[in-house]
């Protein structure tokens, strides 16, 4: 796609977001109407083939689009819903599903008729995801799934769940990824959990009580769920964090406007280094994030793995994003602490990103292990 064409797409996305996704009434509450609008707009299938109702765009274009979505849509929770649906549900079926699964689910997902979610975390297995206890037993017709998943983003509104469950026999700790429909017998969806931020992304527990799954709903290969999980986390650590770059830009621009007009001791506060250096840090955070993203999308467009790159990216972007919002609150002072200025919501939304997609501490473990195992840098 030429730069001009990409700019046209980006412009259209920004206009759409500014005009449709910033309803103040829904900044902390999921809006089905907004979901319908974004589905009608055609964004949900951005990298999916046209055959399944998508746009067939490259990951580079998708990244540019989603950075700008993050910039123009200040409803961070809603962007989070969209990302969960696209990158760690729909995208997994698209890339790793059988033709049967793709034919069955993708058109509905790109059209927004069915919302996706991913189920990895359990009450007793967060960072230690591989200690999950949800189990799927093989039967003649398929599988019976038992267990529960916790803190599932999109849980209360999702129709399709990508569920990871133990399938290994005896001491074999293998697990498998399944595509589970909300309507399958035995699926129970918990109530929306009230959170500190990202209020417009509903989150809940999902319980599987003798849930029957047809055999064709294995995603990837039986007992090879670890591969799907690795790829899912890679996509999540990249594309869930791309909009945060846009959010950082938005917050930075608000700060710039404020420091130019707010005066103390007879001068704009932007004249004081204690303030201006914070904005410089914001800019550095944005540009460094973009530089890392550039490398990652190049790898993904060439069908290469980017596991360590996305781990580094996730760690860096999340820390930069939280710092940006924290510094913004400091810059706005008392006003930043009020609800009216909306800076506190930005900070509350940002804080979650050091936790989801694998905590920042786990990313450091991953990066350390990679670095000290002598892998090529």
């Amino acid at each position: 796609m030429s730069t001009n064409e990409e700019m046209q797409l980006i412009e259209a996305v920004r206009e759409f977001a500014e005009n449709n996704l910033n309803d103040p009434e829904y900044l902390e509450k999921f809006s089905p109407e907004m979901w319908e609008k974004i589905a009608d707009f055609g964004l949900l299938g951005i990298t999916v083939d046209e055959k399944y109702g998508g746009l067939g765009e490259s990951y580079r274009t998708a990244a540019a689009v989603f950075e700008n979505l993050g910039y123009s849509c200040k409803n961070n929770g809603f962007v989070f819903v969209v990302n969960n649906h696209i990158w760690v549900s729909q995208n997994l079926i698209y890339l790793y599903g059988s033709e049967q699964l793709k034919d069955k689910y993708l058109c509905d997902m790109t059209a927004g008729k069915r919302i996706g979610a991913i189920c990895i975390t359990e009450a007793e297995s967060g960072s230690d995801a591989l200690s999950m206890v949800t189990r799927a037993e093989k039967t003649d017709d398929g599988y019976i799934l038992n267990g529960s998943k916790a803190f599932i983003s999109n849980g209360p509104i999702a129709d399709i769940f990508i569920v990871f469950a133990r399938t290994g026999e005896g001491n074999n700790k293998s697990f498998t990824a399944f595509v589970v429909e909300k309507e399958f017998p035995g699926v129970k969806i918990g109530a929306d959990i009230e959170k500190m931020g990202l209020g417009s992304c509903p989150t809940s527990e999902i319980v599987f009580d003798n849930c029957m799954i047809p055999k064709e709903n294995v995603l990837g290969r039986y007992n090879f769920g670890s591969l799907i999980m690795t790829m899912a986390l890679e996509w999540e650590r990249c594309f869930e964090f791309v909009p945060h770059i846009g959010a950082m830009r938005r917050v930075m621009e608000r700060c710039i406007e404020h420091v130019r007009s707010r005066q103390q001791f007879g001068r704009p506060i932007g004249d004081y280094q204690a303030v201006s250096h914070k904005i410089a840090d914001m800019k550095v955070g944005i540009e460094m994030s973009r530089a890392m993203l550039d490398r990652i999308v190049d790898l993904k467009d060439n069908m290469k793995t980017a596991f360590i790159d996305t781990s580094i990216f996730k760690l860096y972007v999340s820390e930069a994003y939280i710092k940006t919002c924290r510094d913004a609150m400091q810059i706005f002072g008392g006003y930043g602490y009020t609800k009216e200025y909306d800076i506190e919501r930005e900070l509350r939304d940002a804080l979650a990103c050091s936790i989801y997609s694998g905590t920042n501490e786990m990313q450091k473990n991953t990066i350390y292990n990679f670095t000290t195992n002598g892998e090529s840098l």
Partner: protein, 249 residues
């Protein structure tokens, strides 16, 4: 199928937003496109766009195609440039007579926000020999032999049934098209736009562009609108005093 021609003009984006560069669809034309996009969902209409403009018009034409246009005739020739309303009318009417002679309706934005003359629709209807309806605020329906429109004029509002063929001059505008879909936008980017030269159109050089114009623009000045904000803080009294001081400046 009802055949509708929409006359499109691209205007500087900075007339709407000082920070916007490039050309955008004239907001009055955008209202027409958006309206027709709504009708297309329920009514059997064919929408043909016609636009005089250079390469810089491409982006707006892509959007027009994505929104609703089934086809677009792009009158793109340096000889069409610097046309006044008369030369514009002659060019557009020549194109409509040649390519869409069986149009049921021609719809124009009432005026373009860069020129603001508002003359072309009336002149065009005269050239095409079809009934002219000005000050159209809304279009209610398209039937098999007529359409129903709403005219607003000096405080009064009339609902009028217009028999085909007719020309409407629409006075409502939009700056954002809610019916734009990016899948359609991507398809529109790949569309082969029919570029019509003055030679292909068969219009005499003395009838188009600067050569065909009775009036010539001698000078134009860009008015740049600055967006400034001043933060007003403190107690209610302090805020009121500050605002008072600003207004007095």
């Amino acid at each position: 199928m009802i055949k509708i021609v929409v006359c499109l003009k691209m205007v500087p984006g900075k007339l709407i937003d000082a920070e916007r560069s490039g050309l955008i669809i004239n907001p009055y034309d955008l209202f027409v496109l958006e309206k027709l996009a709504e009708f297309k969902k329920t009514t059997d209409i064919s929408v043909i766009g016609i636009c005089m403009g250079g390469e810089s018009a491409r982006e707006g034409l892509v959007r027009s195609k994505a929104l609703v246009c089934d086809d677009i005739y792009w009158l793109n020739d340096i000889k069409f440039a610097q046309a006044d309303t008369i030369a514009t009318t002659k060019t557009l009417s020549a194109a409509i007579k040649k390519y869409i002679p069986d149009a049921d309706a021609v719809i124009c934005g009432g005026h373009a926000i860069d020129g603001e003359t508002g003359q072309v629709p009336a002149e065009l209807s005269e050239k095409l020999g079809i009934t002219y309806f000005s000050s159209v605020a809304d279009i209610e329906s398209f039937g098999h032999d007529s359409a129903v429109i709403v005219k607003k004029d000096e405080g009064s509002e009339m609902t009028v049934r217009c028999r085909y063929p007719f020309l409407l001059s629409v006075d409502s505008f939009l700056t954002y098209a809610s019916n734009l879909n990016i899948i359609a936008l991507k398809r529109a980017q790949k569309w082969e736009y029919k570029i019509i030269s003055s030679e292909e159109l068969g219009i005499a050089q003395t009838d188009c562009g600067a050569a065909g114009s009775k009036t010539k623009v001698i000078n134009s000045v860009n008015i740049i609108y600055k967006k400034e904000s001043i933060e007003v803080g403190g107690s209610i009294k302090e805020k009121a005093d500050h605002v008072k001081k600003l207004l007095q400046q």
